[in-house]
Symmetry: D2
Subunit: 346 residues, 4 copies
């Protein structure tokens, strides 16, 4: 297929730090270069190598962490796991690694778009205690899922929340914690539209299982829910069940409601897939913390460095990226099966 | 290692239907027989085959579903995926398949116990709108996580909620929906104790990512959260961070709080792992439902058959089983690495 | 697709012991029963379970092996690997396990036939020192590869060699070793016809690499060669290279010669795939052998039991089975890619 | 473990072109740089990135291949597989890709050495019709396998054959084909010493199956045999069987002969692993070849460029590399199992 840096750069740019006062002042250009696998703007079928250079790297910022494992960061567990300590900031657990996910997803997304016009749009639905209304029993939220675009999300400003009534409160929430050298968490909701039916593999690789795996692999994520999720547990089956009707224009059965979130039995049913991901407050804060050194001595850690008061808005393109990678995998698995079926049905 | 049916049967028995008035009246003995891989009560190292026979199978109960895809069940999506329709009840999406997970986990659990005294205990924390207090800022819930046993959970009665103050309300909630031919969802919380540090593989196979994958593969699950989860998003970093202190008796660093839920950077830190799983109300209800046939004709489906008004209490051993399988995998991966490190360190 | 025991039984029957005086007198019916995954003779898309029962099992035949690890059998290495010893004959290293491969391959083969009329035929080309002419520079052998069928192979008698000039010598060779309570090895050659172009995955999963893996996993196999193989090393590039011409009837390029054996760069080129597999003389012989006990005491082992003087003829359907499994995997991988390409090319 | 470029460079240097008049005059320095995963000369446990730059790349040499698919090269099959044609020479099927295998194996080898003093040495045993004596029934060849070192192999001159009686004939054989703008194949034999017992995974990942897979993935390889291999098929079981004796110095059973090549039932038995790999004559020759264009027109292809008259001597470090990668994988799998067993045996 056609592929150039233009297909990949936009999401990298949306992910990169230094975009607003709400995020870390680190300024990385994050320019992607395709190194192999394409020629004359076409993919060759062979592996595609991409390179993004670090341009604003200041490792000395992290020097105090030679003594202290940062609370709720991976310093201690990496030491326990590997028996060795990297001097660089945070090592491989740094969210900087997500750049590779977003780059790879640029390819997956282009493929999904070409195959079926798949659209994946994520946005912030909660920052700290400020929530956007996600009440599924109203039609409003479902309508938003039907139509929201990335352009609209970005037009909402740096918090990436499409709900004008809470957006400013969210911004203030982040600013408040930023000014206190603190951090705050949030929730990102994501919708996948136009995904073909039949995606997801019983029993262990249900579509939501693969999505949950992907989302919980994003740094700082603590939870995942699909469809009605945690709040749906109190809705009785008689209301929760998504009953069918014939959509004559689509020529197939559809469901009147979509409490399931677009899958049944772990397989996509043609409705919108939507899910939410919880992100905790970032572990690295500039406030002093009473903690202990690697050697077990009590002390005060004041982490220097440039840190995000809220990773949630920047997680938006990462959530989209992981969703695209899961969908592309699931699509290839299912289409291979459909090919097989189509042949033997002759 | 030593292995016999006695190691595997107890959890199968906890999982099986027909145990109380709260679950389906299907009565299956679910006796496991080890077919291969052991001799004289010892494992041989070769694959272990186990067999559990269906004894109370009434396929005719499901006959009406020849016409109707059951709402929020997998009938429609299996047809879309495979292009064919199985006449048997629910086919492979039936929760009956979880019997294999629970049987396999019996082996994994025995291994985990032998290795490090790992303990895995799940219990019901919500049925419908009735919730047990899971406030992490109080010490009470954490203390419960430290000590709760399966025996205590079972002693709580069929809802499997260790909180005496809500248990009866939960039972009534289930009975209410049962009597209305309806169903209701719930939440299962699970704690893993004594898991060694260092488990979980960066970047994509973080321990919580593998747990989320495993939990979302259980039929009817809609959400997963670890540690502070969704409610933790509103806790600022300065409070959420788990600071360190030296535990002189353990001879290693521990954390004062455990909002992380026992992992940092996706790797176990030696604290309790705890997480919750949301289960929707069961899709199969005996109430009449206005829906459509496979052919797209509007109609009324009244599903016969024997169904659970709430799958949540029976999900308890399944959640434990999936947790055990994930932990055993992660343990073997890490111990292989530790072996490698120990050799080259000589 | 349509699937019943009739699709699977024939190769199991060809594989089973007790078919002639040349093989072990163990008489196993090896009847396959499909247990799951089909309904009304159609596959459901879900996993297909099959069962073949042991009917003529005499474990006491193997009792002497409690003391002695059988030379060149897996008794010693299984003990070293697993630290435990199974009392049953040979345990999991017994060629009896190949029944599962042959059963699974029945499904793969049916699929390959439906997709592209793929034909897989193996036959004996050497027993001990008696060889069938496999000179690739003559057209004769290539013509045989073009046309040989399983029916023709079986019509050749129990040695399964299609060359009438050596078949009787082969039979005598086997009888000679059988009468001496000894065993002898041989070579099986296999041809795959009508395999589509484009199968095999660079760099590590070249088609011949996957075939070699599969063949060397068959008990008693010691070598694999594709195309000109070992004898081709002395043919200079100017003769060995398979030059192209346009096959106007096929509408595509073909090669004048096929020294490559149907792949280039690890990818099928549309010519016949052909390869040979070396099988050593069976390790289990009734002759007395001077060897040592597990405890290291010198002694004489006289293995009782019913053993094949030459496993080679019975390996014929096993080689075909493994070839079918590899081809079906490679086909699904490539067809998934072709699907992807077809979509984005629109 | 300690790791620097010094551990990796030597085999890259042995692999690189331009070392003698017998190989291609392309002169690449092939300097490896470690980019990530180590610090202060120690591995961190995280992925190790390495970079080797192309320095003498002349893509225009390959321009004629725009019209012609090179016979017995991968041009045609890559086009069939991917539906697209790369202008660069040979694309991903170029043996240049093996540089990555050799670099990775540098790490694997260091690990194997530290774990058990594993030694892997390969050497040329045949060029064209000139063979070194590999008669297994004599003790001489086995003695060579016991002692041969890489230093001795390299001291043998560019053909890398340790047998002084045939080495010059081999050199002449290569020169003869080089002067005729032709190419010739050969055989590389490899021995692995000091590999622990118990490596290799039943049934499908037998050690020899994984080795065969690895070797057949090397460009231009056409065959693999372990132990007695193809010539062993004519040795009766009574002679072929490797009987046991107690090696009092080793404190364990060993075999008097080693026709098996160091594995039984696919599992290492502590004896030397040895195997041979057949390499065909290189496909790219400067001689004119009558063939057809991509469009099917008959024509004459005269490939320019710098090509090896025999890839066999340069394949020596590649065979060693793939052997090291397989052994390291198998070792980690088995040691994880041994860890598990050691724990539960307490």
């Amino acid at each position: 297929m056609d592929l150039s840096e233009k297909d990949i750069q936009p999401q990298l740019t949306r992910r990169r730090p230094g975009q607003s006062k709400l995020s870390t002042p680190r300024d990385e250009k994050d320019r992607v270069e395709i190194q192999s696998g394409t020629e004359n703007g076409k993919t060759l079928g062979t592996p595609i190598g991409m390179l993004v250079r670090n341009e604003d790297h200041r490792p000395h910022d992290y020097s105090e962490t030679d003594l202290y494992p940062r609370p709720s960061h991976a310093d201690y567990t990496y030491l326990e796991k590997y028996g060795t300590k990297a001097s660089s900031g945070g090592g491989r657990a740094s969210a900087r690694e997500t750049i590779g996910r977003v780059a790879a997803a640029g390819i997956a997304e282009k493929f999904l778009t070409l195959v079926n016009g798949v659209e994946i749009v994520a946005f912030t639905t909660q920052i700290g205690l400020v929530k956007m209304d996600r009440d599924l029993t109203t039609g409003e939220f479902h309508q938003l899922l039907d139509t929201i675009t990335r352009e609209q999300v970005d037009a909402c400003g740096p918090v990436r929340c499409p709900d004008a009534s809470v957006r400013d409160l969210m911004t203030k929430e982040i600013e408040r914690y930023r000014d206190a050298n603190d951090s705050i968490g949030g929730i990102v909701t994501c919708v996948i539209r136009n995904l073909p039916t039949g995606l997801g593999e019983p029993c262990f690789d249900k579509l939501e299982a693969m999505l949950a795996h992907a989302m919980l692999s994003i740094p700082a994520s603590k939870g995942f829910e699909i469809g009605s999720g945690f709040s749906g547990v109190s809705v009785p089956g008689s209301q929760h069940n998504d009953t069918f009707y014939l959509d004559t224009s689509a020529g197939r059965l559809r469901t009147r409601t979509n409490n399931s979130g677009g899958t049944q039995g772990g397989i996509s049913n043609g409705e919108n897939i939507y899910f939410s991901v919880a992100f905790k407050s970032a572990a690295t804060i500039s406030q002093e913390q009473k903690t202990a050194t690697y050697d077990g001595k009590d002390g005060i850690l004041a982490t220097r460095g440039r840190h995000d008061p809220s990773v949630t808005p920047r997680a938006v393109p990462i959530v989209e990226a992981m969703a695209a990678l899961v969908c592309a995998d699931a699509l290839l698995m299912q289409k291979s099966r459909e090919f097989a079926a189509s042949i033997v049905a002759k």
